[in-house]
Amino acid sequence: MNKRIQQNVMIKGTKDGFMLHLDDSCSFSDLLKELEVKLSANYQFQENDPSISVKVHTGNRYLDEKQTKMIKEVIHKKKKLFVDEMISNVLTKDEANRWKDENQVTTVTKVIRSGQVFEVPGDLLLIGDVNPDGTVRAGGSIYVMGQLRGIAHAGYMGNNEAIIAASVMKPAQLRIAGQVNLSPDEYTKWGHDLECAFMDEEENIIIDKLQVLKKYRPNLNRLEGGL
């Protein structure tokens, strides 16, 4: 009978550092112990070696903040190692919900009127108008199938990639992430049809025809759906 000892920590070398695969079926204390033993046994570091980045993959184990910190401490004890990234196959429900909220398009049929503020965590598809003094705010992009005459704030949690597009663009203000673009003093009677606003590399808000979006924001094409 040759009983193979289960390895809880596996070390794999990759071209940008090495990866620690942590088993997800043993207890956390066993894992921590084995990690310590393994790291001290196998490697002898020289004074002038460069620091090595380590990726940690925890498989299907969920680590809370305290546990993550403990693992990092064990690894950081080896002077030449630093944790580059912690990868896990699992998410908490909260994280998953937030991720879902921030990545989904909310569709509403409504006129956003003077004094109203409408806010969504992800993208907003508004079938209706935004009237003067009305505000729409989205964590992602804003698409208005109607007249945009109020304030639109896309990427309000700091997403520079967000855009604003409207069938009729006559906004009072356009805001993307931290930037504000004030409207010209006068619009032509019908405003500008089918325009969009986005942020360039210098963080200026650019307003242009919809056609240019394909060039600046190729990621907007989401053909594969959610994931």
Partner: protein, 267 residues
């Protein structure tokens, strides 16, 4: 069971009270039993326009605080046998003298006795406004074709949309001046309805006779020959559910009239 309709605008001076008085009168002329309630506590003037100010004994606050019965406070308009009544507001209290629950109760107590209860709302969006809309089933927004008035109407519509017991509001555009429309100086009717995106129930032309009538203490709606009176009577008929086409505002070139007709035929 009657219907309670609040007449509101947001901005002051666009003609809420005049509209309340004339719609009330027009509905009574059509044989409906109507009660007008003035909720502009402290700045009442519906009683003046109706010519009833000398007959006020009790008022809205007396009723909600139980100092008198509802029928004691109501003033009957002598033009009619038993069709038109006014519940006046007090002049010496302020808007906080009444709360929303009291208004709801008052109006639901009155509804069985009337076909229509028209509530004249004060300007603004504070307590007075909330009192006025508390018991209403329907709302009529009055605006003029000026940007400030339209903006305020937009705000009011937004606030009314949150009140689930009130049906989507309808719009009256007041004091349309034909010559300005023609010269493109004013927002036109299409412009206003396109902006507010609610149903239009009537357009009232601007006419000096309205002021003359107010000074004579008799709403213009009694005068059968006046175009403003006609416009109000038509709105009253639309409230009753008849389909009455919009009458053209006089003095325009043919182009505008056909535009108006076209606009209305789409509805």
């Amino acid at each position: 069971m009657g219907e309670a309709i609040v007449i509101t605008s947001g901005k002051g001076g666009v003609g809420k009270t005049t509209t309340s008085a004339n719609l009330g009168t027009s509905l009574a002329l059509l044989g409906k039993k109507v009660c007008l309630i003035d909720t502009d506590i402290g700045l009442r003037n519906l009683d003046v326009i109706m010519g009833l100010e000398n007959r006020i004994i009790y008022d809205l606050v007396d009723v909600v605080e139980g100092r008198c019965k509802i029928h004691q406070a109501l003033i009957k308009d002598k033009h009619f046998e038993d069709l038109l009544y006014l519940l006046p507001a007090p002049q010496n209290s302020d808007k906080s003298a009444v709360n929303e629950e009291q208004m709801k109760k008052l109006i639901s107590d009155m509804k069985p006795d009337y076909d229509y209860i028209l509530i004249d709302c004060p300007a603004g969006i504070e307590q007075g406004f909330r009192n006025a809309i508390a018991g209403a089933d329907k709302a009529i927004i009055v605006t003029t074709a000026e940007r400030p008035a339209v903006r305020d109407a937009d705000r009011i519509i937004g606030l009314l949309e949150k009140e689930e017991q009130i049906e989507p509001p309808q719009l009256i555009i007041n004091r349309i001046r034909g010559h300005l429309l023609h010269e493109d100086e004013e927002m036109d009717i299409d412009g206003v309805t396109d902006f507010l995106k609610i149903d239009l129930i009537g357009v009232i032309p601007d006419d000096d006779q309205v002021i003359v009538a107010a000074n004579k203490k008799e709403p213009i709606a009694y005068n059968p020959d006046n175009r403003v009176s006609l416009a109000y009577r038509n709105i009253a008929r639309r409230i009753l559910g008849e389909s009455v086409p919009l009458s053209p505002i006089g003095g325009e070139p043919k182009g505008f009239m056909s535009k108006l007709k076209k606009f209305f035929s789409v509805r």
